[in-house]
Amino acid sequence: MRRTYVEAIVAAIAAEMRSDDRVFMIGQDIGRFGGPMSGSKGLFEEFGPRRIREAPISESAMVGSAIGAAMYGQRPIVEISFGEFLPLAMSQIVLQAANVHYMTAGEASVPVVIRSRLGDGPYRGHPQSYEAWFPHVPGLKVVMPAMARDAGRLMRAAIRDPNPVLFLENMQCYHAVREEVPDEDDPLPIGTARVVREGGSVTVVATGWLVHRALAAAERLVSDGISVEVIDVRCLAPLDLATIVRSLRKTSHLVIAHEAWKVGGFGAEISAQIAETALDALDAPIARVGAPGIPVPSARPLRERFIPNEDDVIAAIHKVMAY
């Protein structure tokens, strides 16, 4: 069945909930309303209020209570409606969820999925992209799919994972990205990147919506004779560096692209790992594409200028190719 990105996620949650009663959801407006941007559509009708639990506007307690429930036998999915509210649960995520397994010397673990919506979206609301903070924190897994089927398969893996998984959904991908997604599907092991387009001239490593912009940029460059390989990172932690290095050894040119602010973004970490382990593979400086250093503006014309786009990716490719 052809499903959008969000439909694939919802289908994956439903499938996991059917097979494991320990799985339940905590979130705001996830009941009859169907979730922000239809993010839990149909789940309340199928699973009812016991398993689709609507919470007060208490982000810290929502995440904290999911952690406690996970430590004591359940497998909750807690949804922070938008990434803009993740800072409110920051301490729960980085100090409680991340630490439990290690600090208890393996006695306890926290099989919780923390879902949230990142990036710019069709309605422009709550558009923060804070993903870079989390791979810095040992104990968390951080997943950030760009494709519909990957999103569903990674959600299945996240739910089954015995560790806290931050599952970051891109709002532009939500309804715009679709593909064939079977009803029954295997979990995709967390921690693998994917070459989504093969090419020989330059490697573009991207996350979320920028994967799609990189793909569009690649098409536009065909006529210029530039053959672009695009890698969808998919998981920030653990990071699949090997796939990136393999591509770079072929192309010798690297562009890294994400929607988040460029400075301090996750692109920096990818770049640093390359500069540390595969510097000799580079024929040119590493170019990063990311948002400029201003707070995320609200009005559409400003937002459009703020979010990195195809042209930015193309400019970066030209820059590294011209070096």
Binding site: Q28, I57, E84, Y123
Partner: protein
């Protein structure tokens, strides 16, 4: 009854303006049904008092202190004349009029920021400066469950800050009913736990509410510290303009339609001798003023590169 008449004008301006905003932006958060709660909370303050209205329907509170209608409409339409130049959410307002701007949309954190404005005033008072300003901040019944509600009010109580917290309790948080986030009691009952006065009042009666608020304002002005007030009201529309609110019962909405604060105020004004014609004129003027503002502002250019402000992030 001059106060109710003036309030009636403001309430109608609010209704007309919000309807027009909702029409031009399907994601606008309408205030319909809560106009009395908003106007009753912020009426009768001094221009130098600091206000921090809830994100839902704050425009009328800005207008009550002299902010330009066209520039607010400009924010909604993304025009260059908006105070925030397209940067903040459209419902923010100009700080120059002594208000707390909406620079982020995570509910609750701005309660602490508003408390800080009161701290600034208290600090000046403690320094011996004559400063009897107060802060009035409003927020939703859903927002009352965020940690900042607790931390900010407790801090204000401990430091006896000149601030009045008003919960605009419209009984819903997007699609969730009150009982999904509060167990039974009134929000005002939380006041006792902080050692401050708490009052729950009919938020659809702007005069009664305003009396309660102004009593708390006087308390704050005279150094007796903060208060918590709950204005009970109802969100007659969906959460945003386009939301048909199919998650709740039409019967409940119908009951509250009967308590429409504008209709109630109109009835009371008629009882006290105001003519149909006079009241119709108020209504007509509000609608016409708003329509003209929208017409004028639509002519203006959209925000663009000049507003992006790549080098306007830091103050110098």
């Amino acid at each position: 009854m001059p106060r109710l008449l003036t309030m009636y004008r403001w309430m109608w301006l609010a209704r007309a303006l919000e309807r027009a905003c909702a029409e031009s932006n399907p994601r606008w958060f309408p205030i319909e049904g809560e106009e009395a709660a908003v106007v009753g909370t912020f009426y009768g303050l001094r221009p130098e008092d600091v206000i921090a209205p809830h994100y839902r329907g704050p425009f009328v509170t800005y207008l009550m202190r002299g902010v330009e209608l066209d520039r607010l409409v400009g924010q909604v339409l993304g025009k260059v004349n908006g105070y925030t130049r397209g940067r903040a959410a459209a419902f923010s307002g100009p700080v120059g009029f002594n208000l707390i701007p909406w620079v982020a949309a995570d509910l609750g954190t701005s309660l602490s920021v508003a408390t800080g404005a009161a701290l600034s005033i208290a600090y000046r008072r403690e320094s011996g400066q004559a400063d009897d300003r107060v802060v009035v901040v409003s927020f939703g019944d859903g927002t009352a469950n965020r940690g900042d509600f607790h931390e900010a009010i407790n801090l204000a109580a401990v430091w006896k800050l000149p601030i009045v917290y008003v919960c605009q309790n419209n009984q819903w948080a997007i699609s969730q009913p009150l009982n999904s986030y509060i167990a039974g009691p009134l929000i005002a009952e939380r006041a006792a736990g902080y050692g401050i006065p708490g009052t729950s009042t009919d938020g659809n009666d702007p005069v009664a509410l305003n009396d309660v608020v102004l009593a708390a304002v006087t308390r704050a002005r005279t150094g007796e510290g903060p208060s918590l007030i709950e204005a009970r009201t109802y969100r007659l529309t969906g959460h945003w303009a386009e939301d048909v609110a199919s998650y709740r019962s039409p019967d409940e909405v119908a009951i509250w339609q009967q308590r429409d604060p504008l209709a109630l105020a109109r009835g009371r004004l008629q009882e006290t001798g105001h003519s149909e014609a006079e009241l119709n004129e108020i209504e007509r003027t509000a609608v016409a003023d708003v329509a003209e503002a929208f017409r004028r502002v639509r002519e203006l250019p959209d925000v663009g590169d000049a507003e992006l402000g790549l080098d306007e992030v830091y103050a110098v």
